[in-house]
Symmetry: C2
Subunit: 192 residues, 2 copies
C-alpha cells in the first residue's frame, strides 16, 4: 500500500523530488510509520517480498552440470515464477508493477546502485549454496566469477525488458543474454 503509493509518486514527480514525508501523506500515515516498514527510502522501491530462493534452487541442481548452466536455469526459473506464464497476452498487473519498479531502478542512480548491490548479495548466496565449506579457494573463485557473470547477464536482460515495455518474455530474454555472454552451446539447455 505504502509501497504502491510511493512508486506512483516517484514515477510521477521523480525519486529525488519526492520526500518521504510526501509518501507518508499520500499513504495517510506519519513519516515514521513509513520508516517502520521500510528502513530506507530506497527500500520503498527495492524491497521484494519474493525473497531469494535462487540459491536454494541451485543447491538442489545436479552438481555435474557446468556452473553457468546451473545458475542460469535457476535464475530463469525464479523469474518465471515471479512473472508467471503469459504467452503473448496483455501484461498482468504484477508485471506492470514490476516494470514500473524496474524503470525507476534503472534510471535513478541511487536505486540502480543499491539494486546492483542486491545482485551482489545474491551472488554471495549463490556461491554459498554451491561451494562446500572445505573446498579450495580456486573453486570459490570460479564459482564467484560464474555467478557474477550470470547475474550481470540477467541484469542486461532486465534492462532490455524494461526498454521494450515488457513485450518480450523475461525468461527468454535472460536465456538470450546468457547465450550472448557465454556462447549458445553452453546455455542452450538451461532454458528448458
Amino acid at each position: 500500500m505504502i509501497q504502491t503509493r510511493a512508486i506512483r509518486l516517484f514515477t510521477e514527480r521523480g525519486y529525488d523530488a519526492t520526500t518521504v514525508t510526501d509518501v507518508a501523506e499520500a499513504a495517510g500515515v506519519s513519516p515514521m510509520t513509513v520508516y517502520r516498514h521500510f528502513p530506507t527510502k530506497e527500500d520503498l522501491v527495492l524491497i521484494d517480498q519474493h525473497g531469494m530462493l535462487v540459491a536454494e534452487q541451485i543447491a538442489a541442481t545436479p552438481a555435474a552440470q557446468p556452473l553457468v548452466r546451473r545458475i542460469g536455469s535457476a535464475l530463469i526459473e525464479a523469474v518465471t515464477t515471479l512473472t508467471g506464464d503469459r504467452h503473448g497476452g496483455d501484461l498482468t498487473a504484477n508485471e506492470q508493477f514490476l516494470l514500473a519498479r524496474l524503470r525507476l531502478m534503472i534510471s535513478t542512480p541511487a536505486l540502480r546502485a543499491k539494486h546492483l548491490d542486491n545482485h551482489y548479495a545474491l551472488q554471495q548466496a549463490i556461491v554459498g549454496a554451491i561451494i562446500d565449506e572445505g573446498s579450495d579457494t580456486d573453486a570459490a573463485f570460479h564459482a564467484h566469477a560464474a555467478a557474477s557473470a550470470c547475474l550481470a547477464a540477467m541484469h542486461t536482460a532486465l534492462v532490455r525488458w524494461a526498454e521494450d515495455d515488457g513485450r518480450s518474455e523475461l525468461p527468454d530474454l535472460i536465456a538470450k543474454a546468457l547465450a550472448a555472454a557465454f556462447g549458445d552451446d553452453v546455455v542452450a539447455v538451461a532454458s528448458e
Copy 2:
C-alpha cells in the same frame, strides 16, 4: 591529500562512524572545501583520476575478435598500467593505496553499491565504443551482455586481490576470472 587522510580515517574508525567534518579537520580545511573537491562523501573513496580510457582502448581493438576477448584484454591492459609492472617484489605505495581503497569499497555497503554502479557506467561506455549508431538492437544486447559479464569477472578478481593482500598480480587474476566465467579457450589470448 584530503583523500589520503579520509581513507586513513575511514579505515581506522569505519566509514559510517567518520563524519565529513572529521575528515575536514584531519586535513586542516573546512567541511565545505571537502565538498568542493569531492561532491559526495562516497567520492572521497571512489573518485579515481585514472578515468575510463578502457572504452577508447576497446574501440581501437580489431573488431574481428570476439567481444569477450576485446573487452577482457582492454580491462587487463588498463589494470596493468594502473598498478604498474611488479614481478614478485613488494607492493608499491600506489598498490597499497589501491588495496586500502578496495577493502573499504568491498566492506562498506554504500561504497560497494556505488562502485558497482561505476562499473555499470563503464559498461555503458564500452558498449558505446563498440556499437555503431545504426546497428541493430540485438547487437547492442549482445555487447551489453558481454561487457557486463566481463566487468563482473573483473570485480571478482578485484575482490580476490584484496583478499590475498595483493600477493597475486591483478592482471593475472582478471585473466583467470575471465577464463573461469567464459572458458579457457575464449580468453586465453586476451592476457597477452
